[in-house]
């Protein structure tokens, strides 16, 4: 049975990463069925409760409540929605923008390459957090704008790495052969170059998903992400930071959840890199 699986599915890292990501993904999709409470339901008589298993805990609030008496577990589960939406759409968007520019720059070279390279330089001189904050000021808060801001900030990650790879591939003999046979530029890029760089692209997307989760958490931590009525992990951290002496548990749960999500994406990315990259030797893939 296990022998028919493709090699990348046999890697322990990939499997571990997939399991973690799948659990968080399922939480996001089935949040209304999994969450014991409405995430915005305030319970002002039982605020800042510790988890159920500690002294003073309440069984109906398994992980305790925040400063407004909202159920921490339910907010974590609902928070997965924003995190996963941002992870998926922001990373795919950044990939699309960055990869298209990288293929153009790496394949054609010359002036186009220099122009795109300059644009990357300009972006690189902006610290990512600063740029995303400024963009959020310009765009206004909301899920769509968070995704847009991350795309606009992070396309350079794809562009820089991929451009170098495309330049190497574009100089290979089989690419010249394709051109000699009469392939158009479009066909050469889509049929010959994109498949060769696909493993790198998949790895980068997986790592970018982890980065997107962090950026969203940071933006919602400073209150510049989704509106206050949408539960997000960063908001939970900000709330817990204020009441850290009253209930340190509240800070622990969202921190661990964010860490778990990022760790899952990084494991997945690292595992895929090892199994999909043809240059890595067999022994390094385990």
């Amino acid at each position: 049975m296990i022998r028919v699986l493709p090699p990348w599915l046999r890697s322990g890292r990939v499997l571990a990463g997939l399991v973690i990501v799948a659990i968080i993904g399922l939480c996001a999709v089935f949040a209304p069925y999994l969450a014991p409470h409405d995430p915005n339901e305030q319970n002002l008589v039982s605020t800042l409760l510790p988890p159920a298993w500690t002294e003073g805990g309440d069984v109906s609030f398994l992980l305790g409540t925040d400063s407004l008496g909202r159920d921490v577990l339910s907010r974590l589960i609902y928070g997965a929605r924003v995190a996963m939406m941002v992870a998926v759409f922001a990373s795919l968007g950044a990939m699309l923008l960055g990869a298209v520019l990288a293929y153009i720059a790496g394949y054609f070279g010359g002036r186009v390459d220099a122009l795109i390279g300059r644009a990357v330089d300009v972006w690189m001189s902006f610290p990512p957090v600063v740029l995303s904050l400024i963009l959020m000021v310009g765009l206004g808060v909301g899920l769509r704008n968070v995704i847009l801001a991350i795309i606009v900030v992070d396309w350079t990650r794809f562009c820089r790495v991929l451009r170098a790879e495309v330049m190497v591939v574009a100089r290979k003999d089989y690419v010249s052969a394709a051109r000699l046979v009469g392939f158009s530029h479009w066909r050469t890029i889509t049929r010959e170059i994109v498949p060769a760089t696909l493993p790198l692209l998949i790895t980068l997307v997986s790592l970018e998903m982890g980065i997107a989760v962090i950026v969203e958490a940071i933006l919602s931590f400073v209150g510049m992400s989704v509106s206050a009525t949408t539960p997000a992990w960063g908001q939970m951290v900000a709330d817990a930071r204020q009441y850290i002496y009253d209930n340190p548990w509240n800070l622990m749960f969202p921190i661990f959840t964010i860490f778990l999500a990022v760790f899952g994406f990084n494991m997945l990315g690292d595992g895929l890199r090892r199994t999909l990259d043809v240059r890595v030797t067999a022994t390094q893939r385990v």
Partner: protein, 338 residues
């Protein structure tokens, strides 16, 4: 050597100035598609519509965008960054008051990141091929998954709340006053002959600096390890071994010299990122630097500050990159060929 390096540095500087100019245009564009009205915000709520309109004209907001940009640019070049809408103070003064705190934080964090990164890289290289390697490798991925954001909060929980050994708010104990001077607290307190303030400042910096330092060290570790592995494939290492040199000597005197170059270049890039990373760490630790100023300004839509602080961040990153490139040119003779 100097005759080949100076034109290269000149070129690098010209590029940096050009980039800064583009950055200023981008900043201006992003912030001027805003739905908020800076004129209305700078007036008391009782102001009439006519008064606000007069203010708009006074602030030049009725002019076309390119003209507004040029006016702003010429003011900036004359050192006039405008007045903060929220703080009602000159923006340049606000930025200059907070910048030293951030630089102090960034430099100390970078030192910690470099030391941890280089030591970690050597350890990772040392255990290659042994049974400890998978565990160490896993550890470095684990470290890579924890950004400064999470380290900061984790340290607050562990050392601030649970163990209660280190402070995690501000730059000094609440009863101490900032000594006047350069704004670099470690320096000012010593110059003022106040070891108590120095010690308090050090204690307040330990957690934020380690949070940033640890977060930025794994990349340095991994690059140093892989460049060491590459260098050890070279013939001159085999030759050194044949000459009977000790492994320690080969590593320190021969391999490290070449392997450290890509690592240094990476550290330059990392320093730029780390400088941006201070923003969040400052917010978490209520550390009164550029980052807290920025977040306050963002929350209040205080445009003059956002523009100035945005530019300040880019300027520092560009200065860091230029210095690192220059340093790299001096260290790596291969790059001097034009």
């Amino acid at each position: 050597m100097l005759t080949t390096i100076i034109p290269l540095i000149g070129r690098r500087l010209a590029i940096s100035v050009f980039i800064l100019l583009i950055v200023s245009v981008l900043l201006f564009l992003v912030l001027h598609v805003l739905p908020v009205d800076p004129a209305a915000m700078s007036m008391p709520p009782t102001a009439t519509i006519a008064e606000i309109e007069a203010k708009r004209i006074e602030m030049g907001l009725d002019k076309p965008l390119p003209q507004q940009y040029l006016i702003w640019l010429s003011q900036v070049l004359h050192g006039d960054f405008g007045t903060s809408i929220h703080f009602r103070r000159g923006v340049l003064g606000l930025v200059l008051d907070t910048l030293p705190a951030t630089i102090e934080l960034a430099v100390l964090s970078m030192i910690i990141a470099s030391v941890l990164g280089i030591v970690g890289g050597l350890v990772l290289f040392h255990v290659r091929g042994t049974r400890k390697e998978p565990a160490m490798d896993f550890g470095s991925i684990l470290l890579l998954s924890i950004p400064e954001f999470l380290w900061s909060l984790f340290f607050i929980l562990l050392f601030g709340v649970a163990l209660h050994v280190l402070p995690f708010t501000g730059r000094l104990d609440p009863d101490m006053r900032l000594p006047l001077g350069t704004g670099f607290l470690l320096f000012d307190s010593l110059a003022a002959g106040r070891p108590d303030i120095f010690w308090s400042a050090v204690k307040h910096m330990i957690l934020p600096c380690f949070a940033l330092g640890i977060a930025f060290s794994p990349t340095i570790m991994r690059v140093l390890r892989s460049s060491l592995i590459d260098v050890y494939q070279e013939d001159y290492i085999h030759l050194a071994r044949l000459r009977g040199l000790s492994e320690r000597r080969i590593l320190v005197r021969h391999a490290l010299k070449n392997a450290i170059l890509p690592t240094l270049s990476l550290m330059g890039v990392q320093f730029g990122f780390l400088f941006g990373g201070t923003l969040l760490v400052e917010v978490i630790y209520s550390y009164p630097g550029l980052g807290n100023l920025m977040v306050d300004a963002v929350r209040n839509a205080d445009l003059p500050i956002i523009q100035a602080v945005g530019l300040a961040y880019c300027l520092v990153v560009l200065v860091i990159n230029t210095v690192v490139d220059t340093f790299y040119l001096v260290l790596n003779p291969k790059l001097r060929i034009r």
